[in-house]
């Protein structure tokens, strides 16, 4: 199916999110959309999917002008959209979610559960998507939920499939799987609109790349275009794709984790007994420890245990010598821990609140934002204005509800809050997920700056690029354990092996051992 967008314009009040956009998607084409945060990619896709009505412009499907008043219209016209998040019913099974609205029924109208399950299993096996039709959606990790979404769209036989940052929450392996699926779909004549901030992915999979900036199409490039060319086109300035940083000058131990063990919640599919299993490490002032690993190997639980959001059953956590193993999250925040949660909408933001309110979400009761019981609205507002400018958060005002910001800009709100204040220890989980290359550069710079000011930093990331860019030392997590500490010069192959759980190298044992044996003793920075 050939899809043409002609002069699509969408305004939100004074803001023009899409400004006369022309785009042609050919049958069997993988058409990538690139653009900085807030460029209008998601808005354009929501318009195409019938979720938003355009103010101007039209769609032409195989030569026929068409309008979509609701997603139902779009689906009937063969357009499918895989949203990133929260589009599943948590208490339904995978199969029920996938067939929602297109339920398989018996003659009498009763649900045919067996056929439902079989269809789902068949489809997920055909594309190697490995989803268990009987698992409850609330029990499966985000990455698997993502796959459920994909199966859902496939089941509806979409001829144009919209994937809005599908890879943001996928592991490298899962991304490869997805690309395989995408190529198969393409071979079958399905067109795909693919949105991603990862240039490498776009270059690998796209047939053509359209770049948006501030609501306008600024160019179309072949996938052979270079990183720097695409980045320049997106952001409008030269982007340093790899932040340069001086060697770390580690000081005193700030975070000392010894033998930390966190039990598995019933949400995890892994049969491993503990989500975090006897993990020991230290982070010094002025040092960045990067925790690499495939998502779902206990990193989330580790971070939450560090913040006091999950209870540990064994081991200890010390902050600058003080035992905070059983301290409340508030105590930890007050003691100088900054926390960037992995799931921004779940744990990091109140989407109904204004940008200004979200910028003080964990410091609302401290000066200058509060005096006694009363909020100091002026201080809140002026700080917000400053943070919004500092972090280039694209929002119409500081009183805009955060939920209306683009994904990347929502992330920047959290970053501005947590990096913008004085902390001793920064725990950041997937800090740049969903950010454009320009913003990643900026955030990396800020994190390195924090390090240089003596903050101890723990970065959890499933992006090896990010780990390489930031880490002074790398720890690899696999099935709840740290399988090795490595210097940042380690090859991607070696890290990959560690991430796959291949053996524990000799220095893994010594490093971890040294940390737990003599917590006070300085270890050599690597």
């Amino acid at each position: 199916m050939k899809l043409e967008l002609r002069g699509i314009t969408k305004r939100f009040g004074s803001l023009t999110a899409n400004d006369h956009i022309d785009l042609t998607v050919l049958p069997g084409q993988i058409h990538a959309l690139l653009g900085e945060n807030g460029a209008g990619k998601t808005t354009l896709m929501n318009v195409l999917y019938g979720l938003l009505q355009p103010d101007e412009g039209e769609f032409i499907l195989d030569g026929q002008p068409t309008a979509f008043h609701s997603p139902k219209d779009a689906i009937n016209a063969g357009i499918g959209m895989v949203h990133q998040h929260f589009m599943l019913v948590p208490v339904f099974t995978v199969a029920e979610n996938i067939t929602l609205g297109v339920e398989r029924t018996h003659a009498l109208g009763l649900l045919d559960r067996r056929r439902t399950r079989r269809d789902v299993r068949e489809l997920s096996e055909r594309y190697g998507l490995h989803v268990d039709p009987d698992a409850l959606v609330e029990d499966i990790p985000v990455g698997v939920q993502q796959r459920v979404e994909i199966v859902k769209a496939l089941l509806r036989e979409a001829r144009v499939l919209i994937l809005d940052e599908p890879t943001a929450v996928l592991t490298p392996g899962e991304t490869e799987d997805l690309f395989r699926v995408m190529r198969e779909l393409k071979a079958g004549g399905t067109s795909i609109i693919f949105i991603s901030h990862k240039l490498r992915e776009v270059q690998a999979i796209a047939d053509t790349i359209t770049v948006l900036r501030r609501g306008k199409v600024v160019g179309e490039r072949p996938p052979t275009a270079s990183d720097s060319e695409l980045a320049l086109l997106m952001v409008g300035r030269k982007v340093e794709l790899r932040v340069t940083k001086a060697p770390a000058q580690p000081g005193d131990v700030v975070l000392d984790v010894a033998g930390l063990t966190v039990p598995t919640g019933d949400h995890l599919l892994t049969d491993h007994p503990a989500a975090v299993d006897d993990v020991s490490f230290q982070v010094r002032a002025g040092e960045i420890l990067g925790i690499a690993g495939v998502q779902g190997n206990g990193q989330t639980e580790l971070c939450e245990a560090l913040m006091g959001l999950l209870p540990s059953v064994a081991g200890s956590v010390r902050l600058s010598g003080r035992d905070i193993t059983s301290a409340t999250p508030r105590d930890r925040l007050r003691a100088g821990v900054g926390y960037i949660p992995e799931d921004r909408q779940e744990d990091g933001l109140v989407t109904d609140f204004s940008v200004a309110d979200n910028l003080i979400l964990d410091v609302y009761d401290r000066p200058p934002f509060a005096s006694g019981l009363s909020l100091n609205l002026d201080a809140i507002r002026s700080t917000a204005v400053k943070r919004v400018a500092d972090f280039d958060i694209r929002t119409t005002s500081t009183s805009t509800p955060t939920g209306t910001l683009s994904g990347g800009n929502q992330q920047k709100v959290i970053l501005a809050r947590e990096i913008g204040r004085d902390v001793k220890l920064l725990v950041a989980s997937q800090p740049t997920r969903g950010l454009d290359v320009g913003s990643i550069e900026f955030v990396h710079r800020r994190i390195v700056e924090q390090r240089d000011q003596g903050v101890a930093v723990v970065i959890v990331s499933s992006e090896l690029d990010e780990i390489y860019a930031l880490a002074d030392r790398i720890a690899v997590m696999y099935e709840g354990r740290i399988t090795g500490f490595r210097p940042p010069t380690t090859s991607a192959e070696e890290l990959g092996l560690l991430m796959a759980g291949a053996g524990t190298g000799p220095d893994a044992g010594t490093q971890a051992g040294a940390a737990s044996d003599s917590p006070g003793e300085p270890t050599e920075p690597v």
């Binding site: 609701s70 943001a168 949400h267 799931d343 939920g403 969903g434």
Partner: protein, 475 residues
Amino acid sequence: MSGPPGEGPVTPGPVTPGPDGPQSPGPGTPQDAGTPAIATSASGDAPPPASGGEETAQDGRQPFGRIILESIVEGNSAMVTTLAIVAAIVVGGLLIAFTDPVVLTAWSNFSANPGNAFAQAWDSAAGSYSAMFEGAIFNPHTIAAVFQQASLASALHDGYVSAVFNPLSETAVNATPLILAGLAVALAFRAGLFNIGATSQWIGGAMLATWLGFGVSLPPFIHCVVCVIGGFVGGAVIGWVVGVLKARTGAHEVIVTIMLNYVMEYLLSYLLGTSALGKPGSNDLISPNIAGSAVLPHIAGPSLRINAGFLVALAAAVGVWWLLSRSTLGFEFRTVGANPSAARAAGMSVERTWILVFLIAGGLAGLSGAAVVQGTDHFLTFQSYGTYGIDAITVALLGRARPLGTVLAALLYGGLYAGGVQMQAVTQTPASMTEVIQALIVLFVAAPAFVRALFRLRGAKAGGEGQTLAKGWSG
């Protein structure tokens, strides 16, 4: 999920800042129920990463009821609420007309005299409504009476002037307990909690205020204040029990509050039968009258029932507004209400918030009890609580869980009651018709899509849509 499958996209109302400050608008009401394929869940809706500690049903996932209520409270614009009231009045007028025997007779002769049929119907409805207006707001006859007096002084002295203000006074008197109890529901709702237990808290406050009213003797002003504080404390204790049960055991507040309503109703009956609260020497379940020193003073002369209780209610509304939009505590309440996981990650104690919210909400409902006993009734019976606790829920809903809105909704309800009495006195229409109108308002408010269709409103859609589309990493 935002609506029954197959329904068009349900969108929250336009971005209408609440009357009480820089409130964020629309809830995380999901958008695309129109897609059978896609069921969305609101932002706070993903499963908690892993359950630990005292997880309860409340955090992490929104109960279905809450989603519905939320879409009523926040998904409705002030416009839709106003139109719902208009629609209810119109339908109420039809009901008034067509339950009137005179009108029915006229309509049975419709073919003979169609003009008369319509005229009778109009007269019936208009007559009832104007009587209602005279009972609730002001009665032109009373003004005329004032001018017939020899001088303003004699008009004042003989009570003709107060008669002018009597309807408004009655409206305020009726609204007072509803404002306070409504705030108790609204405050809890803003923190993501259902307070179905305003009745029990009302009883707790009323019992303590009554007991202090007849049981102790204090100088006039002080006695009155002590009783009002007693009312707050009495209600707060009952509310606190709910909060603690929820925080410590995870018991759902709806169940707990409903059960506590029964407990308190029976406790009230029991105590009224004993010497602790009952009137000595009486077999009726009734308390002694409170001392004159404990009575809330009239604020507009002795012949108007309006009393200091109304001022207490307005002050409470201002207090709740300040608490919710200007205080750190309220920030916590709203955060816990909007996204408990984020609240926890931001260092807030969700459990502590629950307890505090129910404590304060209970106190407000308790004040409502005190206001009735000290303001108008002066004693307590086993039925004094009436329907305040239930009406409070509708008042809070109508007021969109905002303090100013709650005051306005309570005044509307108070006016309907006051007017209903007059309507029954002057016309054939039974006062219970006001309850029908109240019910209609609620019905229309609960069906915003219907009201929008009825009045062909499209505005809400354009403003509200997309608000929650920007979800996930993909924005």
